[in-house]
């Protein structure tokens, strides 16, 4: 096994025992990147060649030299006998929606393509303080607006390491792909409607959307500020737990970061799950969508997906958990429409600052008046997705429509929250510790299939978005392979700040399924190395 395929906690252990050096780990990851990633995404990619179709393209900006120096520093610390931190020498990638000082921070948009941030996001800073080594900034949907990575202004966009004809999911597609392909052990993503969990499920890795406020948003280029959550992407639950441990906690630069103590996730991992109550809800086994006539339609998820969830439930039951069926979550179906409204109102406002005046892209047309400067810079700098979101956001927040859209969506949001409150109420009828659901209604879709149809793409988020509305944590776990050879993911949702319980359940599921065949299967891009 290559060093880059080792888990973060193994690397940590081997480093401590001086069996390996951080530089060796860096070298291994660097080689892997060179072997599988192909060229990084760029604004003017030219022709997409045959070679491009078989590589992952996780990166926008690789930072090998910066990473090498960080690895060297870890080795120096180790040699001096100093504590190099929880994530010493562990390679990670950062979704290019986080500011990292003196590094391009593009949000995968032309409008920020030349923007170098003068400060570092709290989450990145905390990972680096624990000795983690940043291999570079990875691709995403433009401004995180999408579920496939294809809307990135930096092409070629990321491809799924399990099958490069498929999307990696999104918006944290570069994150999930880079971890699945062994380019890094960990990645820092963001989740606004499922943007960590959905690509994690598509790429067969672990993805965590922490409780809103668990991880500081400072330095995260905002999409929908009331929904955005930075979180870990990892290859196993233990690594995800260590990563969250390193990032979580209050931050004086983010007043929405919760002043709630961070439990010791690692110490809790091995505890028994006996007696924990896990719910299954019929509302998470069918998707609701609108047909061309505007009628609400329902469709059950495939048997394959249903089976993966029930299989996970069986494993957890065998380990002592109680399974509670038929938990009603009636407002799940309104998650997407409410999200459409709320996220776009916030997104349109968050995008106001990109006006060509201070930084980023400015139109090359000279001698224009101010209004023209704004219009041209924004029109030339933003791709389709930001434009769609601005249009809709401006529309539904206009004085004459705000009441029937935005205000109404906020009401729906609190109804979704109350579904969870009832399910998790320790004195209520269900008394759940967690809800077990599919992460996505399907496996990774083919490249080009739904790009352009942003409404359809949103249904990929139907089971993940309720957690963002409610602010609760969610954990997506690899749970098998579908007949098409693509990964299947299951999701655990828990009450506020219950990440420790979710990790414990996730670890139990991992241990309980460790001997299953699919666990031995590697992503396609790694099979011929």
């Amino acid at each position: 096994m290559e060093l880059c395929d080792r888990s973060a906690h193994e690397i940590y252990q081997l480093l401590r025992e001086k069996k390996i050096s951080a530089l060796e780990v860096w070298e291994s990851s660097q080689k892997r990147i060179e072997a599988v990633d192909g060229r990084p995404g760029v604004i003017e990619p030219g022709e997409i060649t045959g070679a491009d179709l078989n590589t992952v393209h996780a990166f926008i900006t690789p930072t090998p030299e910066r990473a090498r120096q960080q690895a060297q520093q870890v080795d120096e610390k180790l040699n001096k006998g100093e504590d190099p931190g929880l994530l010493a020498g562990v390679p990670f990638t950062t979704k290019d929606i986080f500011s990292v000082k003196n590094t391009l921070s593009t949000a995968a948009s032309k409008i920020l393509a030349n923007y170098s941030a003068p400060y570092t996001a709290t989450a990145v800073e905390r990972l680096e303080n624990q000795g983690a080594v940043m291999m570079g900034k990875v691709n995403l949907d433009e401004f995180t607006y999408g579920s496939s990575n294809e809307s990135s202004a930096f092409q070629p966009s990321t491809r799924n390491p399990w099958n490069t004809e498929r999307v990696p999911g999104g918006s944290s597609g570069g994150s999930a792909a880079s971890v699945a392909a062994g380019e890094a052990a960990l990645s820092l993503g963001t989740d606004t409607a499922g943007s960590i969990r959905q690509p994690a499920a598509f790429c067969g890795v672990v993805g965590v959307k922490p409780t809103y406020g668990r991880v500081s948003r400072y330095g995260l280029i905002a999409f929908a500020s009331s929904l955005d959550c930075p979180g870990p992407v990892a290859r196993n639950v233990t690594d995800a737990a260590i990563m969250l441990q390193s990032m979580a906690g209050p931050d004086r630069r983010d007043s929405t970061a919760a002043a709630v103590d961070v439990p010791d996730y690692l110490n809790n991992l091995q505890k028994s799950i006996k007696g924990l109550r896990i719910g299954l809800s019929p509302d998470y086994f069918r998707i609701t969508y609108m047909n061309e006539d505007g009628e609400l339609m329902q469709r059950d998820v495939s048997d394959e997906i249903r089976h993966s969830v029930y299989h996970a439930a069986d494993i957890l039951r065998d380990l002592g958990a109680e399974i509670v069926e038929d938990v009603p979550m009636p407002n799940t179906r309104y998650g997407i429409p409410a999200y459409f409204v709320i996220s776009r109102v916030e997104a349109a406002s968050n995008l106001h600052r990109y006006d060509g005046v201070k930084y980023g892209y400015r139109t090359h047309t000279s001698n224009v008046d101010l209004q023209t400067l704004y219009r041209k810079s924004r029109n030339e700098g933003f791709g389709l997705q930001p434009k769609l979101r601005i249009l809709m956001g401006m529309y539904v927040s206009a004085a004459q429509y705000s009441e029937q859209y935005y205000v109404r969506a906020l009401k729906v949001r609190s109804k979704i929250r109350s579904d969870f409150d009832t399910a998790f109420d320790p004195l209520g009828p269900y008394r759940l510790n967690a809800l077990l659901t599919p992460t996505t209604p399907s496996t990774a879709f083919p490249m080009g299939d739904v790009y352009g149809d942003s409404v359809l793409m949103q249904y990929a988020d139907q089971f993940t978005v309720p957690a963002n509305h409610a602010g609760i944590p969610g954990l997506s776990l690899p749970a098998g392979l579908a007949a098409d050879g693509l990964p299947l993911g299951v999701q655990l949702l828990g009450p506020d700040f219950s990440e420790d319980i979710l990790f414990r359940l996730g670890k139990a599921f991992e241990d309980g399924s460790t001997g299953e065949d699919w666990r031995q299967v590697k992503p396609a891009v790694l099979r011929n190395l």
Partner: protein, 478 residues
């Protein structure tokens, strides 16, 4: 001809005198600083930054809300006001909207003729300032120093009925802001900014007609001036059969005239929504209590009390309460003195105020403490020094910081009340002025004043005048 009255509402922006800005730790006041030197990623709205509320802003807001008799909301919210402008780096201003810190309220304005006007407050909210734009030729320069400076926006109801009342409102507001210690309230420096909404109507009407908005007025005199101009202009328009249009007008101080900036026929849609990056502002009981525990007696109440408690005339009470420090000084001095408060007031109004104005000091900065001032008054009362020595002493104490007794002693300023010393001088005066002595003895007793003057001059003012006169009479009447 119709008689018109003017209807005025004032919109003020008050810059709070906090050390740091409202949402970051940059220095708040940049008056003397080069452009773009007090800025950081947060106040320039770089991608990914978040605002963190400065609690001192809320505290100062609470003090003003209380002073304006506003209802203080214990749960208030920040909202985004979205609009594009180059000096607004985020493309939205963080402000308060429907559930702001203060609700309603009023300010009572005493008018010079003794009447009092109540001006109601319609809006009182916290917000961040935007930057400054300067056009030079066809280039546009932006200074972000002012971005994120804490402001309170306060808007009155259309309750003001003359340019003078508008000026009085601003005078009283400025006094109050300084009294509360929440703003330097200097209009020239933009600490207190005022826009005026002006309309006219036939006297007796209760309708509100189309208003114009006057912007960029940077002194109280200019506000009065601009409103008077606008009142006259609107009357002329209506008399000429024209309509008043909803214009925004710019006051040009140099030309002393109003310039049309733009038409404002429709309201802009700012697409307000709750700022998701900030938590709601919760004022729990303990916090409110700690903010309000030293809430001062307000100027008008104190003025009234000075008149009642110390029997001061309105004139004195009004001046003594222009500034909180001065009024505190007065009360401390009265207490230390124990005599007639009017005597303290006279000293303050005539001598100390001049000292303050000349040196640009506040009462609290004087080395002449209230206790020293009381000591001087007591020495005058006891005849230890005369009145003019007393007044000179004020200055000497202020210059040296020494106790007045020490100065009197070391400079020999005390009145001579030694009988024999004065007697010697009197004898000498009488010997040197035989003709005046004769005249006195022949009945021109009014010469006693002249003799006293001679004694005082000889003794350079240090003789106790009563004693000198007594001795003079003794010897002349022998």
């Amino acid at each position: 001809m119709t008689d018109y009255e003017v209807v005025i509402g004032l919109e003020t922006h008050i810059q709070l005198n906090t050390t740091t800005k409202i949402f970051c730790s940059c220095k708040a006041d940049s008056w003397d600083d080069e452009p773009n030197t007090n800025i950081c990623p947060v106040c320039t709205g770089l991608p990914g930054v978040l605002p963190v509320l400065n609690k001192a802003v809320v505290e100062k807001g609470v003090l003003l809300a209380k002073a304006m008799h506003s209802e203080i909301r214990t749960l208030s919210f920040f909202d985004r006001k979205n609009y594009f402008y180059p000096d607004l780096p985020k493309g939205y201003q963080i402000s308060q909207y429907d559930l702001s810190l203060g609700k309603g309220g009023y300010l009572d304005i005493p008018m010079p003729d003794g009447s009092q006007r109540r001006v109601r407050i319609e809006k009182l909210h916290l917000e961040e300032d935007a930057g400054k734009t300067k056009n030079v030729g066809n280039r546009r320069f932006i200074d972000f120093n002012r971005c994120g400076v804490p402001l309170i926006e306060m808007v009155t109801a259309p309750d003001i009925r003359s340019a003078d009342e508008a000026a009085q409102y601003l005078l009283r507001l400025r006094q109050l802001l300084r009294w509360l210690g929440i703003s330097e309230a200097d209009m020239e420096k933009g600490h207190l900014r005022c826009d005026g909404n002006v309309s006219i109507r036939p006297k007796g009407s209760t309708e509100l007609f189309t208003k114009t908005e006057i912007k960029n007025v940077n002194s109280i005199d200019n506000v009065r001036n601009a409103i008077e101009h606008e009142f006259a202009r609107q009357v002329r328009e209506v008399e000429a059969g024209n309509k008043v249009r909803a214009w925004t007008l710019d006051w040009d101080e140099n030309k002393n005239e109003l310039k049309k900036m733009r038409s404002k026929e429709t309201e802009a849609d700012y697409r307000y929504f709750r700022e998701p990056d900030l938590l709601p502002v919760r004022l729990d009981e303990a916090w409110l209590e700690s903010i309000l525990k030293d809430f001062p007696e307000l100027p008008l109440a104190r003025r009234q009390r000075f008149m009642e408690e110390y029997q001061l005339p309105l004139y004195d009470a009004d001046i003594l309460t222009t500034e909180r420090g001065l009024s505190d000084y007065f009360e401390s001095a009265v207490k230390a003195y124990g005599g007639d408060p009017k005597r303290v007031s006279n000293y303050l109004l005539n001598d100390v105020m001049r000292m303050l104005n000349d040196e640009g000091k506040t009462a609290q900065q004087l080395k002449l403490t209230p206790q020293f001032m009381a000591d001087i008054l007591k020495m005058v009362d006891a005849g230890k020094i005369n009145t003019s020595t007393g007044k000179n002493l004020l200055k000497k104490v202020e210059e040296s910081g020494l106790a007045p007794e020490k100065i009197v002693e070391s400079e020999g300023l005390g009145l001579v009340s030694d009988d024999s010393a004065i007697r010697d001088v009197v004898k000498k005066i009488l010997e040197n002025n035989p003709s005046e002595v004769s005249a006195y003895k022949e009945g021109k007793t009014t010469l006693i004043g002249w003799f006293t003057g001679q004694v005082m001059r000889e003794m350079r003012g240090k003789a106790d005048p009563k004693l000198a006169q007594q001795i003079l009479k003794d010897l002349l009447d022998q």
